[in-house]
């Protein structure tokens, strides 16, 4: 019966709740369908908890303000959709090289360009990995229900704070706009990670020092540690460098601080895989269709399983190889013309047949479409 903690809310709003649960206090954004409810939610909720909301003049300014606020010491985030995500890429690169924790929610819609503003898509999956120019390792997560919008937002903030890096949450229009019953966790129920701050005296602290886990403690502005932040490739002091012996370690750090911990970043849902001969692999809203299709096909006696990716980047290669070891075929369902399937082709052994079920007309993948594909490949 009625539970005080339970609420019916949109996926977008569940992201706002998750962000607030994480201790987020700063949002800067620009309205864009289908992410606008996140900005609206923040404008409503943040003043009530002493946080800050600002509607910037565009997405470039939004991500810039978020980076500024994070460097000043506040957990910060923004939300956008395709065209806005494209505009943010340069400054996202800045966040990567300056190792600034922040979260960007991209509620995906059809593209390229203005594309299909009100329609669902998953065509920014590769952009979430390779959007900004240059070399870096990226983290991206993808929820598929309203409840997961909350938990994955908390997880995204934790990952960004722990690894001092921007994290993208790949929502899609269906997940962002659907309403579902969510049970809001009490304080302490979910882990909340806060960035590590320096403890040594300001004279001894190097703002970008090489620590064993490659994550440098990070002071906020005004906390006694006066440091320089630049988008130029920099040394451990934060000053720009052109020296090979400083450039190599910096770029290796951007990669390895994340890739060394990919086991801890990976998260998957695995259903009916024990005896599965065929597996659906998907993420976001397509996973909901895949789970449904799996349940229906199992009823009909088909040995099919389902793998849902919550962590998209870094790509969970080792896990997928293990889970799919006994499958002969996989079906990769995506709302695009083929993005994550290339990663799957890269990581799965050659004797596993890889089939694609792709939809890119702005409509959600249906369980029936996946079932038809399943029958076709069987």
């Amino acid at each position: 019966m009625a539970n005080k903690k339970k609420k019916l809310m949109q996926g977008n709003m569940a992201c706002v709740e998750g962000a607030i649960y994480s201790g987020m206090q700063f949002f800067a954004g620009y309205p864009i369908t289908p992410s606008t409810e996140i900005a609206e939610g923040c404008s409503r909720e943040l003043p009530k908890i002493g946080g800050r909301f600002i509607q910037m003049e565009d997405e470039i300014g939004s991500i810039a303000a978020v980076i500024g606020a994070s460097i000043a010491g506040m957990k910060s985030f923004t939300a956008t959709s395709g065209p806005g995500y494209s505009l943010m890429q340069e400054n996202l690169g800045y966040a990567f090289i300056t190792e600034t924790p922040l979260v960007v929610i991209n509620v995906q819609r059809g593209g390229p360009s203005t594309g299909l503003p009100t329609k669902v898509s998953q065509s920014d999956t590769m952009q979430a990995r390779w959007g900004p120019h240059g070399d870096y390792a990226a983290i991206a997560v993808a929820p598929s229900t309203v409840q997961e919008c909350h938990t994955e937002t908390v997880r995204a903030f934790n990952l960004s704070e722990r690894f001092r890096t921007p994290v993208t949450i790949l929502l899609d229009e269906v997940i962002g706009h659907s309403r579902g019953v969510i049970s809001l966790p009490e304080k302490g129920e979910l882990e909340v990670y806060n960035r590590v701050k320096p403890t040594a005296s300001p004279e001894e602290v190097l703002p970008f020092e090489m620590t064993p886990n490659l994550v440098s403690p990070m002071a906020g502005y005004g906390e006694g540690y006066r440091f320089h932040v630049t988008g130029l490739t920099h040394d451990v002091h934060g000053f720009s460098t052109n020296r090979s012996d400083e450039i190599f370690p910096k770029l290796d750090k951007l990669h390895n601080k994340i890739l060394n911990y990919r086991d801890e970043i990976s998260k998957l849902r695995i259903e009916n895989m024990d005896d599965a001969e065929v597996a659906f692999i998907s993420y976001g809203s397509v996973s909901r269709a895949a789970l449904q299709a799996t349940a229906i096909a199992r009823e009909a006696g088909v040995k099919v399983g389902c793998i849902q990716l919550y962590t998209i980047w870094p790509f969970p290669e080792k896990e997928l190889r293990q889970i799919c070891a006994n499958c002969s075929k996989v079906i990769v369902g995506e709302l695009n013309m083929g993005q994550i399937i290339h990663e799957i082709e890269r990581v799965l052994p050659g004797d596993i047949e890889i089939h694609a079920k792709q939809r890119y007309d702005g409509e959600i993948m249906t369980p029936m479409q996946l079932l038809e594909k399943l029958e076709e490949v069987l």
Binding site: L8, T118, E173, R179, L371
Partner: protein, 191 residues
Amino acid sequence: MGYKFIDRIKVPEDRFELRLSGSGGQGMIFAAVVLGEAIGLAEGKNVVQSQSYGPEARGGASKADVVISANEIFYPKAMKLDMLLAMTQEALDSYLKDLKEDGVLIVDTSLVTDIPVDNYYGLDFTHLAKNEVGHIMVANVVALGAISCFTGIVGKEVLTNAVLKRAPRGTEDKNRKAIDVGFEEASKLKK
């Protein structure tokens, strides 16, 4: 290999799917959210509510779906409707094909005149709202009262509370009346 199974599959029986459809401005999304809230929170079931966005949301056909289940809801949209409410002819023409053969069809007879099936419930929601409640705007709430009666998916009291929670202050009496009217008129027709 040619392993065929599609002809043997069954629509999952643990789901109850309903669609409220009409034209933009008739409050279909509001009604669906209220329904979702009543069923999801007070009745303690899993609920996913979604709607179609797009140009049609402004004046054209508008639809809002609610999927209800005691189990985890995988697919968030309707697959085969257990109930369809059509408040306009266009909505009926668009979505009738999505209704199960034994599904419940409810139409607003003031706006829907061409009904190609025999098995349906017809109520004049628009006129009921105007004449019995005094405001055409609550036709969607009158329809909610009727849905409660026809489907039994949500109790009248629970539904009333959910409507009052969402409705603007000062409209409580009108909304309560609207649900009563819808429920009573429906009970006269219910088979």
